[in-house]
């Protein structure tokens, strides 16, 4: 098992004819993802390798049964693309694009909630259920199938952690990079219960960082979960008021410091690791390996 996506997920790629879109669509296909359609307005009828391109999401969904979408279009069009995917009935929408106006994302976020769809991102690496399906730009070779769910606000740090787990012989059920923007579709809280209910997930690694209150919200959920959660918080050395690379990582109040987040997690019994290497060790321990 896995959460959100699996071997039956049918993916369309919005922006498949672009440089990034075609590259990552090919990678996904190579990984075994069922990429069933591309969507590029006014390029309907073209092909990207064997994948037919449609003018609209509606058409793509009707013709191919696509139920998930990856969006790799310019920031000024990305929110509209996400709304189109949601409107067409996609239940998983992975928004890779960076630099989408927050105000546009407010609408996309609430529309996704109304539709009961999982919106992942924006400004995220995507999601992978190793051996089954990948939607996103994650480097696929470092993942392996197994019992650990990973959810993270960071991209490369996630790769690092997954790589560490894989090298230690610990596979992953599903790995999700939720993205680094202030307004994101899926936060920690949204997937923790999914992991709890997934029979094949035996432990969850939660990779937080400074900024916002998502870790505190997650702690509230974790309180009531049986599944063990291993934590990590990046940015302990980050100075307040400075934006660390992306808009999400900025210490703007007491709650958004690394210390506050570590405390919130520890208070509900989550061991918070000091280093990336420690995550692998702690996970092993939690799994009884």
């Amino acid at each position: 098992m896995s959460i959100l996506i699996d071997e039956n997920t049918k993916v369309m790629v919005q922006g498949i004819t672009g440089r990034e879109g075609s590259f990552h669509a090919r990678q996904m296909i190579k990984y075994g993802t069922k990429v069933v359609a591309g969507v590029v307005p006014a390029k309907g009828g073209q092909k990207m390798d064997d994948i037919l391109v449609y003018n609209t999401c509606e058409e793509a969904v009707n013709e191919t049964g696509a139920n998930a979408s990856m969006i790799l279009v310019p920031a000024s069009m990305a929110a509209d693309a996400a709304l189109e995917a949601l409107d067409a009935g996609c239940k998983v929408v992975v928004l890779i694009t960076e630099g989408i106006p927050a105000q546009d994302m407010i609408e996309v976020y609430h529309r996704a909630k109304e539709e009961g769809a999982a919106l992942i991102g924006p400004n995220c690496p995507g999601i992978i259920s190793p051996g089954k399906c990948k939607i996103g730009i994650l480097p696929q070779d470092i993942f392996s199938k197994g019992p650990v769910g990973v959810v993270s606000r960071s991209g490369t740090l996630t790769y690092e952690i997954a790589d560490g787990l894989t090298k230690a012989g610990i596979g992953q059920s599903t790995v999700i990079g939720v993205g680094g923007d202030p307004i994101i579709g899926t936060s920690f809280s949204d997937v923790l219960e999914d992991f709890e209910n997934d029979q094949d997930t035996k432990a969850v690694v939660l990779v937080g960082e400074i900024g916002g209150n998502d870790e505190q919200a997650a702690a509230e959920i974790i309180k009531n979960l049986r599944i063990p959660v291993i934590g990590f918080i990046g940015g302990r050395t980050a100075p307040p008021g400075k934006r660390m690379g992306h808009a999400g990582a900025i210490i703007s109040g007491k709650g958004s410091t690394a210390d506050a987040k570590v405390k919130a997690l520890e208070d509900v019994g989550v061991p918070v690791c000091d280093t990336v290497a420690e995550i692998t060790l702690k996970t092993k321990e939690m799994l009884g390996l």
Binding site: A102, E107, D163, D181, I183, R236, T237, G245, A249
Partner: protein, 395 residues
Amino acid sequence: MKIHEHHARDIFKKYGLPVPEAEVANNPEEVKNIARGMTPPVVVKAQVLVGGRGKAGGVKIAENHDDAMDKSKDIFGLLIKGLRVEKVLVAEAVDIENEYYLGILLDRDKKKHCVIASTAGGVDIEQVAEETPELIGKTWVDPAYGLHPFEIRNMLFDAGFDPKLALKVTGILMKLYKVVIENDCSLAEINPLVQAKDGTLWAIDAKVNFDDSSLYRHPELKPLKESEETDPIEKEAHARGIAYVRLEDGNVGVIGNGAGLVMATMDEVKRFGKGIAKPANFLDIGGGAQADLVRSALELVTMDQNVKVILINVFGGITRCDEVAKGILQAIEEVDLKVPIIIRLAGTNEKEGRELLIYSGLEKYLDIKNAPYKVIESLEQAAPIILETIGVPAQ
């Protein structure tokens, strides 16, 4: 993006918000000329992109235009939190009866705009929120239908605003909301909103931050952008488009790809540093960096004279390790880096990158103090080498 108070004031004025008569001056002579045309007293306010200018002596009341000129002489050139005062705003002073706080910001937890008002204005609102939360009114904006006067009224009545005043403030907040929506503001604040002795209301200070991702659709805002960086290296990084933040008291330059990985690397340096090795900066080369950018990043980090050693930690996804290696070699060739580099490469084209570095022959020396760089397998290996480098007294 932050903008100066006087620019925010101009935007407020355009939306019909009640801002006092005011004009910007670049020197004391201009202050005098502007103040001459106003009804005294006037207030002279330093224009800097940081808070706390009042305490720093950046705001002064003057009796007349000569006094304004004199007082402005103390303000021009003042250094407030590292930022030098180059402009002042000269405004007609208001006879203050009461002060209020009004603000609208993006609530990232609720994913909605939050409208905030308090009868405790003129002070730090976060402090009010902590000490007397009952004095803070909040209402969240329906993401679909937007904000309505009745929602604001309900909030203001609950927060203890006088009912008649609340009606006027409702109008002001509706306008402020329009500022936020039409300009993609992440924050718009009036602190204080002042009720003058004659009952009129005035937006005495104006603060507006914009969502950087939305600037592409507000070309008219771009000219308002001014450097927020007080640090010369941060300014330079900004100019080069590199995400760089300088840390105090650091001696280990940190470069990586992806904000999370860079922060984790900084944390790791701090942890194993035994109080001796400390991260000197945050530098994220982002995704898919080319050699040039890596070269430029190395150059930036070494502008900080405190940096004694650089740690590069890259996990390639979109970023290719061979491009990173090329950039490192370019930097060594073209820039006099002066400090050694500890390099950890993993992920996409890891092998190619490592081979480029190893076959360059530059790593041949036995001792890190003599070699320009050292390639390591995992981050754990960095600790002893960094400590060795730092531990040795510089020259």
